[in-house]
Each structure stands twice: as C-alpha cells, then as structure tokens.
Symmetry: C2
Subunit: 659 residues, 2 copies
C-alpha cells in the first residue's frame, strides 16, 4: 500500500519536471540552485558568521593543519623523499583539502591576499606530493606504496574526493588550474585503476561519488559521471566482505548490505550515508535514474520520520557514529555529528531540486540552523564533533580534534551558504531560505535583480523586491515553511503541543494581500513582474511547544521549545548554573526578549515554569515558580561548560538528588 | 621536611630488613610471599569464584581467543607462510599469553584435562610461529617484518612480557618446558638486540620488566635481571621523544618524562604505571636499589593519598586511561580500569614484602575486593573494562572487548589468589589476607601446617590453627587492617564519619586474650608454638559511613558505606530501579542482613534514609522515609543495567527532574 502510494507520488513528480538543458545529458531537476558566487549575502544573522568563518575559523584551520599537526608536513615529507615518518591518521590529507575548499568559498566573498597566498602555497606542496601516475596520498606514500589500494577502509578514495571538491572550488573562485589538474590526474588514475578494469572496490567512506559529480559538471567529461555511478554500483554485492565489514561488523554499517538502489532503511555510519545519497542524487539528476530516486525517497522517510532529532541532527550513537533502532533518540548520548548535519544539508538540497518539493528544505533548514550551526562556536574557533540535546555539564567545545573532519566541514558549509537560498528554472524563481541577500536572475533574456530583506530568524517579515530591466513574466515560488503551518517536521515524528492555528502565513504584493497558488509547499505567484514590485511574506513567530511521538522514549512527558526554524534549549549559564531542575507544567507561559549570548544578539524565550529547589536545610525539596531563560540551541556552550536541555519535563517521573 | 621524614622512615625500614638467601644476590625483602601452589584455598567467598574462573571465565577466554576473534588464527597464519592477513590489533598476542597464564594457575588447583590439552595445543601453535632468531609477534610477522622493532608504541616487548609470564606459570604448574624455551629464546633475542648493543628502546607499555624478573627468579640467569633493570633505566632520557610521546602527547603519559628513580608523582596511563613500579620493586628486591625504593615510596603516597578511589580503583579518566589532577576523582566517569586494580595488587604486594608494612596490604585488599573483583561478573563470563563508582543506568558488562586485556587479567589474578595470603621469613609467619586456607610453613626444619578458618568478609572472626610436628619458636604476624582501626585507607583521603571507636580488634590465644606487640601494622605473637595452638582474631564488622577529604569535589556532602574491606553501593535492582533519589541524613540508621545477589550469598546493608519521590500528580516532590538496600560494590551490574551509586548524598544541593 505504502509502496503504491509512493510510486504514484513519484510518477507525478516526474510529470512535473522541467528539462533544463545546460548540460549535454537529460536533467530531471525541477530547478537549479543558484550558486553562492551569484549571491551577495547582507544578512544580519549569517553575514557576521560568514565573516567569522573567513577570519577566525579559517585561521584555526590553518594553524591546526600546518603548525599544530603534521597534516601539511606530510606533503612536504613526500616531496623530500627522505623516508620520513607519516604523522597522524591515514585520512588526514582530507582535512587539508576541506580547508582549501572552505578557503576557496570564503575567498569568493572575502578576498584576502594572505589566505590566497597560503592556499597557493599548500597547493604547491600538494602538487609536489603527487606521484607520476597520478596517485596522491601521503599516508601510503610514506608508509609503503606497495600497500596502496589494498585496504578499502583506509579512505584513499575519500581523500581523493575531498581533493576533487577543493580543486573544483578553488578553480571556480580563482580560475587557477594547478590543483584542478592534480585532481584530474588523480581521478583519471582511479578511473583507469578501477572502473576501466572493473576491479571491485567498495569505498570505505563514501564521498568520491559526489565529488566526481562536481568534476563532471565542471569538465563535462562523461568518465567522471560513469566513475561516480560505478562507485555507487559497487555496493551491496559482497565485494566489501572481509574488507570493510566481516562476520563481526555488519555490512549495514557501511551501507554495503544491498545495492544502493535496493536500500530501504537508513543504517550505519551517518556521514557515510549522507554523502552516499548526495552522490546518488547527483548521479540520478544527471542520468534520470529512477532506481536511485525510489530508494532515496524511502530512505529519506526512514531518516526524517523515525530517526531524526528535533535539531535536524542524525546518528543516535557514538558507537557506530550512526543510526540505531527506529525512534531510539537519546538526548544526552546523542551523537549528531556536525558532519552528518552538514551532509543532511547536502542531500536535502539535491532532493529539493530533483523533486521541487519544499519539505526537503524544511529539513535542510532545521539541520542548518540547529544541528549543523551548533558545531561552530560563536567565536568561530571552537568546535563540536557531536551535538547532544542535553548535557549534565561536562561537555565542552574543542579547539580541534584528532579526527578533524567537522571544523572544516562546517566552515565550507557556512562559507558557501549562498548555494542554498535561491533556485531557478525557465519557469521561474525559487526562494528557499530567508536570508537577506541580493542576486540577479535572467528570465528569458531579461536580467531580474532581486533583493531579499529580513531579520529572520528573529523576525518573520521577509521583503522581496524585484527590479527587472523590463516587465517579464515568470512564477515566483516562495517556500512556505512547514514549521509555520503546524508541521514542525515532515512526517509525524514531532508535533506542536498546542495545535491551535497560530497566525497564518501572510503574503502581500505591493502592500496588498495577494492570492497565490500552493504548489509542493511553495506559494507561487505567476505574473508579469515589473521594476519595484515588492512581495512581503509574514511568517508567524510564536513560541511553540513541541512533543515527540510516543515511540521516542527519551522525550516522553517532555516538551521542547521552538520559534521559527530555531530549536531552543535551557542552559545553566542563563539559569543559575542549572538546566535539569525545571518542570514545564500545562499552564506555563512564554514571552520573547532581545538577549545577548556573549556578543551574539538573539531572541531568547522567558518561560514561567516550576523549579525544584532544595530547602535551606538541604533535607527537603520545594517546587517554586520561576522565570527561566531559553536560548537558541546553536548558541549554547559558548560560556564554558554548563548543563543544558532541549527537552524539558512536563511531568516529574523521577527525582535525582545531585550536586 | 616531608623528604627528611620519608628518608628517615626508609632508613629505619632498611635496618629492619632480613636478608633471605634463597637467591644468589642480596635480597632486602622483609619476607617472601608464599606462592599459591603451596596454599589450598577452602574459602566460602573465594573458592566458588576460583571455580567460576576455572570453568566459565577460562571457557570465555578460550572461545573468544580461538573462535570469536582471530587471536589464535594469527599464530596459525604465521606458521602457514601463505601471506595471510593479520586479524585484530597489534597487541592481541598478549591476550593469548595471559589466557595461558590464567589456565596455568587454574590447572594447579583445578586439574582439567581438556584445559591442559587446549593449552598444549595453543603452545604448539605459538612455538610454530616463532622465527629462527627468537622473534615472536604475529602482527609484524604478518604485516611486514622489515618494520619490527621500529615503533616503541606497538607493544612488541609488552607481548613478549606476557609470553614470559605465561611460560613461567605453565612451567611451574606442569614442568613442561616447551613454552618456557620459546620465551627464553625471545628474551635472549631482545637482550641481544637491545641491551647488549645498548640500542635505546623505551617500552611503550611496561610489562616486560616484571616478566623478566619472573624469568630471572626461575632460571637464576643474571641477564634477565640486567635486562629488566636496563628497560627501566631507558626511561626519562628522551629516547621516547617522537616515538611514544611528542610535542602533543605528554611524556608523563608513558612515565618517560624523568628517569624512574627520579619520579615523584603518579602520572599518565594507570596500568603502564602499575606494571612499571611492580617491575621496579622486583628489581629493587634483587639489587637492593634504594633509588627505586625512594621513588616508589613517594609515588605510592601520591597514588594512595591523593588519587585512589574508595574502591581501590585508579585512573580517573578514560581519555588517557589514567591519572589526572590530584583529588580529581569523578564517580560516574571514573575509569578505574580492571587491569589497573590488578596492577595495584601486584605493586602493593611487592611493597609489602619489601618493607614489611601492612598498609600496602590494606590497599591491596581494597583493590582486590572492590575495584578488581568488580571487573568479573558473578557468572564469571561477563566483564567490566572500567569500574565507575556511579552509573545513570546505561552501563553494563560485556562478553569481551576489542582490547581484551581485562578478562584474562582478572582471571589470572583470581586463579593465583593464594599468592597474596601468607608470607614467611626465617623470623616467622605473616598472615596478610583473611582467606580460609591451609598451608605448611617450614620453620627451621620443622614443618608447620597452618589452617585458617573464617567467613570473611561477611564475618570478622578468623581462626588460625597451628600444628607443628614439634614445638617451634617463631613470630606469628597477623595483619591488623587499617579499616578496623579507624583508618579506612592509608593517608587521610578518606575518613570514617563517625570516628567513635567501634569495637576494637581482639586477639585470643587458645581462647584467652593475648598480649601482642604491634609492629608495622601487624599483631606479632612471638612464642614457642605447639600442636593445636589456636589464634582467634575478631575484627569489628560495623557498618561505617565514609567521607572524602574536602578536596575531592565529587564526594562532597556525600557518604559511602563500608563494612569490613567491602565498599557498598546502592543499585536500582534492589531499590525499585532507583539509586539517585536517596538522601542519607545524620540520623540514618543501618542494619545488616543475609541477602542474595543472584546465586551469590552476601551481607547487605539495610539503611533507613529519606527518598525523593514525585507526588502522584507529577508536579511536586516529596521526601519520604524509606528503607533502602545496599550491596557490596563488586556484586553490582549482574542483574541487567540499572542505576548505581557508591557515594550517597547527605545533603540536597541540587535536584534533577528526570525520567
């Protein structure tokens, strides 16, 4: 029954697609994202964060990569040919590439001679470490080349993927080919070593597939599309047995139990899964492969309907850095790796452009503003690897990690934020995220400058001004967020406790309410647009209490607070050091206020609740009415270690006496 | 001032030593331990545990070593010379050796043809994997012999140490030389590769030193003593820089910051430290090296006075598997590796025999009955790697571990328990632990059978019957436990809350109170002993509340319960699933009762305390008088996962509302 319905939806989705002919092959994408280099961000919320990334975060990446760890030294050692010892872990090259990718994105909007010089310097060192046959990996080159390509788990292809992504990004920003040529030589080496010979190879950590698709789109060389598809097609045939899994390690851990197109459940390592499906979506967009699409729709529902935290974080367990059982979403031990939320942004963007459905952006926005952004400190130079939804007070941010995937991952995401705001097709314009920015579309042959102004996510008013050189007809699609329509997230994993209709979304054209069509979660205004047309969107920004399905044991008799796209938390830093002593009874009331978390202006929530306090003699417990402060989840853990909770009890079921 | 006092104590200790001439070189030991093979244990408490080890634990070790992991297969692969892949981690050989050592000890008291046959079978495989030059390590032999002895961290010498220990044990039990000859060839290989050439080598994980001392005592070959001393002397000269530590990893982690004789603080990895000092004590005993003794006395005080949990566990942090700051003893995150408590037993035994001071046995007994024994399930086939002092209810025992040092370590300790009960010198007999058992001393030339009867640790009565063939004069030393004299542990890290003198230790000779000398913590009765003489010791077994020094933040406003040598805990399994909701007020009362934890008969404590409970409406909290049950700490976590606490609050300082 379920399958039938899904198939029907899928067929309808296909009928609605528009063929975009910018590439040689058939594209089924509903629309194309507008690349960040076409978008100027002026946003009060994001612009300062992008500036922090361009300065503090990139500085941290550089210092850690080059001075405090041996990541750059490894490349120098290869070039010196003096038999020196590899430092660090076998996948450390990837962090260099990801840092370069972040620098490339950042340079586009924040020109910085020193950063550019540093990048060129690193690129020279990387190029010098490439072998004549195109192979490039400092670990194997320094520890024994005879062992290369013998261990699928050792991330050689993963590092190659990040090299390719960095190379494409740096070429796009600077037009310089040096790193791109390195990446192409390595990609060709891999293609001839594996696909051409059809030598089985299951990537131990997916990533190269989506990277190859970037290379394909840049170069228009079919072999990279074929190689990406070939890598995906390797999975699920047992080639990984005894290599990346065995009788003790489940093949589901590495998504190698069945072929990708037959996958129905989300399993295993969360980041690997996200990267795989992002790559699969990219391949599907280029090949119109329904097999990938069918699988991904089913798996996506498994993620979002049963295995996603309210923060958009995924991966319940640090044990496998990934998924466990359906509805197993413990808060304090939640893994929710920053990289997995970044991966959710990647994958959901692809699903959105492929289907034209706004629900994917609802999930993307949730992961972006909560689970992913939480990975970066307000200062820009401290990081979370895991992003739990509660803490007893022992959990703090780090300067860096032994396995340092997360810092550069959140850096490259924030630096390329412009990628996720707008979409376009011949039919019209899509507004996905509400981020103050300017861009210019071309409709037909008419340039259409568009300006978005907003104080989102603190306020719900969004103003979109269109200035076409001459009147031009097209459809403007404005995303109508699920959270503003009593659907906190697609599916019914989460619901608003008070499902009274809060204020509805209002849309005005030139100051007057306008009728619009609703299509796939977008408000669509189709008209002939002229210079100075203003569309205003007013999103309701009530404080909402959220509850989980009863299957989520960790959240039972608890509520979370949400306002707009932001999930809130209670942190000890705002509440006399405590976050686990409060009860949100049915009659709790809420108000908002302007607030500061260090130098970050936020809207905080004041909640009138009940708090358990010891009597002065220390022998009894009293419940006292108190006003507590909740702050946006992404902003916690910036003022030292203190306890925190997203899900607050609405009923006392157990009491712990602690210090 | 402190140093002066310590030096004085040390000088006095030396003056009191007796030269025992059983070995060629000068021995400064105060007395010698009686080996377990000379002791027949009949104890109600320990005998069933030794039986469990002989059956369930060894069976688990065999199944895991041989079937469920590749530990034995690695040896077979080496012998087959077919270029097969190494399975597991580079130190896995050591688990095979430790299992053999445990089997050897167990076979001494529990003859078992199947176990003996299995051991011989493994020994054949091990012998077949030894290289002609004596080298034996499956990891390097299978992954590339050119790399052997290039990485000090990779536990080659550690594995060699465990091979030697196993070989000595198996030879002592069976008289079979095959494994001993393998061990000797490997020891000679190491000696000629390193000491003879004076090629610097800092052991990444100490162990070989104490093992070589066993080999030295068995073979009387000076080169093994010299090699043990050489290994110790390698530390602290910078040879480990860039090898086992570097600019990012502190040399204190591996006790390589200063030479062993200059070490004053306990630092770093707890098990490595314990093994190092055990080896140093063994060397000091053979060489009368005051440098080692001076260092060890200072370091021992640093462990016991500032860094030891009430359970005798050590190592506060899982991050370095070791020590952190003085007095940093968090309970829930306590690492307290089982192997570190086993190491505490090893080291304190040596310190006791070297000095004749009973305080070392106080610590040994605490670690043995609490921190170490907790590592083994009542069923004998489930294990703890870490032994925290509180749990929110998520922590459970495992069948095995990827790094599987702990199961075979606790197995070999329990199987050789007889080693720790008695000591002897020409001057007399020492009774260190109260364990029902029989042994025969020879005083002068007269055999002196001794029988100890007791229901310790449940009851405090101990009866020692002496049956010399003819009257013979000697001094009987009976340990007077610190815990029975208002000193829960040496130093003042812990104190009894109620320091009223509970019942004192009573000593009776043939039914009448006897005057005795107190010397170094022993009651000494010097007389001419005759057949049928009976000494009775009555230890006070009151329930005592223990408090920590104020510097231990984790234990402030908390008390722990202790009775005899046993630390107690409150586990949810006995208390309606809860262990964090109780308050021990000043007027709490305690009683004991016979109790069962599964099939383990124990004495439990019933405590009348105050418990925080939600009101039926779930909106307020009430404190209710309740009787709770506390069980011995070692017995927790045998009935599924449930919350647990050793340190119970005596004052409410914070309340957490939880589910």
């Amino acid at each position: 029954m379920k399958t039938t319905r899904r198939k029907l939806t899928y067929t309808l989705a296909l009928l609605g697609t528009t063929v975009v002919s910018t590439h040689a092959q058939l594209l089924v994408q509903r629309f194309e994202p507008v690349g960040f280099s076409q978008v100027t961000i002026t946003d009060h919320f994001w612009k300062p964060k992008m500036d922090k990334v361009a300065t503090a975060t990139l500085r941290a990446c550089i210092v850690q990569t080059e001075e405090k760890t041996g990541r750059i030294r490894n490349f120098e050692k290869v070039a010196r040919h003096k038999n020196e010892k590899h430092e660090g872990i076998y996948y450390d090259d990837s962090d260099v590439y990801k840092a370069i990718e972040a620098m490339a994105y950042s340079l586009k909007n924040h020109p910085d001679a020193a950063i550019q010089q540093k990048t060129d310097e690193w690129i020279d060192k990387i190029a010098a470490a490439q072998l004549p046959d195109g192979y490039l990996n400092t670990y194997y080159t320094l520890t024994g080349l005879d062992k290369r390509w013998t261990d699928m788990e050792r991330h050689e292809d993963y590092c190659a993927g990040h090299l390719i992504e960095a190379a494409v990004a740096y070429y796009n920003t600077t037009g310089k080919r040096k790193l791109l040529d390195v990446a192409i030589r390595f990609a060709d080496h891999i293609d001839s070593t594996f696909r051409v010979k059809n030598r089985p190879w299951v990537s131990g950590h997916q990533e190269i597939e989506l990277a190859l698709m970037r290379l394909y789109h840049l170069t228009n060389q079919d072999r990279y599309l074929k190689l990406a598809d070939w890598f995906l097609a390797q999975r699920g045939h047992g080639y990984g047995k005894g290599k990346i899994w065995d009788e003790w390690k489940n093949p589901k851990y590495c998504q190698d139990d069945v072929p990708v197109k037959d996958q129905k459940e989300i399993t295993g390592h969360a980041v690997r899964a996200m990267y795989q499906y992002t790559g699969a979506a990219d391949v599907a967009a280029a090949t119109n492969d329904q097999g990938y699409m069918n699988a991904m729709r089913t798996v996506w529902e498994d993620v979002v309907f049963r295995n996603m935290y309210l923060t958009g974080g995924i991966g319940s367990s640090g044990h496998n850095e990934g998924f466990t059982e359906d509805y197993d979403l413990p808060n304090e031990s939640a893994y929710c790796e920053t990289c997995a939320s970044v991966g959710m942004v990647f994958w959901n963007q692809r699903m959105n452009t492929l289907t034209g459905e706004s629900k994917y952006i609802d999930v993307l926005e949730r992961s972006l503003y909560n689970g992913a952004l939480d990975g970066l400190s307000l200062s820009g130079d401290r990081f979370f690897y895991g992003n739990p939804l509660s803490s007893a007070g022992n959990y703090g941010r780090s300067e860096w990690f032994g396995t340092a995937c997360c810092p550069s991952n959140i850096a490259r995401l924030v630096a390329s934020l412009g990628d996720y705001i707008y979409g376009r097709s011949e039919e019209g314009i899509w507004v996905n995220l509400f981020v103050a920015s300017n861009t210019t579309f071309t409709m037909g042959k008419t340039p259409v400058p568009v300006q978005m102004e907003t104080n989102y996510p603190w306020e719900g008013a969004v103003k979109i001004t269109t200035n076409p050189a001459k009147p031009v007809e097209y459809a403007l699609h404005i995303r109508m967020p699920g959270w503003a329509q009593n659907v906190p997230a697609p599916g019914n994993l989460y619901r608003y406790v008070d499902s009274r209709s809060a204020a509805k979304i209002e849309v005005l054209l030139n100051g007057k309410p306008v009728t619009y069509q609703e299509e796939k979660g977008y408000a669509v205004i189709h008209r002939k647009w002229k210079k100075g047309d203003v569309v205003e969107v007013r999103l309701p920004m009530d404080v909402r209490q959220v509850a989980s399905r009863k299957e989520v044991k960790a959240d039972q008799d608890r509520v979370a607070l949400q306002r707009g796209p932001l999930v809130y938390c209670v942190e000890g830093a705002d509440n006399e050091g405590k976050a686990w002593n409060m009860l949100v009874p049915d009659n709790a009331t809420f108000a908002t206020q302007s607030y500061q978390v260090l130098d970050e202006p936020v809207v905080s929530i004041k909640a009138n609740v009940s708090v358990a306090e010891p009597a002065p003699d220390g022998l009894t417990v009293q419940m006292k009415p108190r006003t507590i402060v909740a702050i946006p989840y992404y902003a916690w853990a910036n003022r030292g270690k203190s306890p925190m909770q997203v899900w607050l009890p609405s009923r006392i079921k157990e009491v712990k006496i602690t210090e």
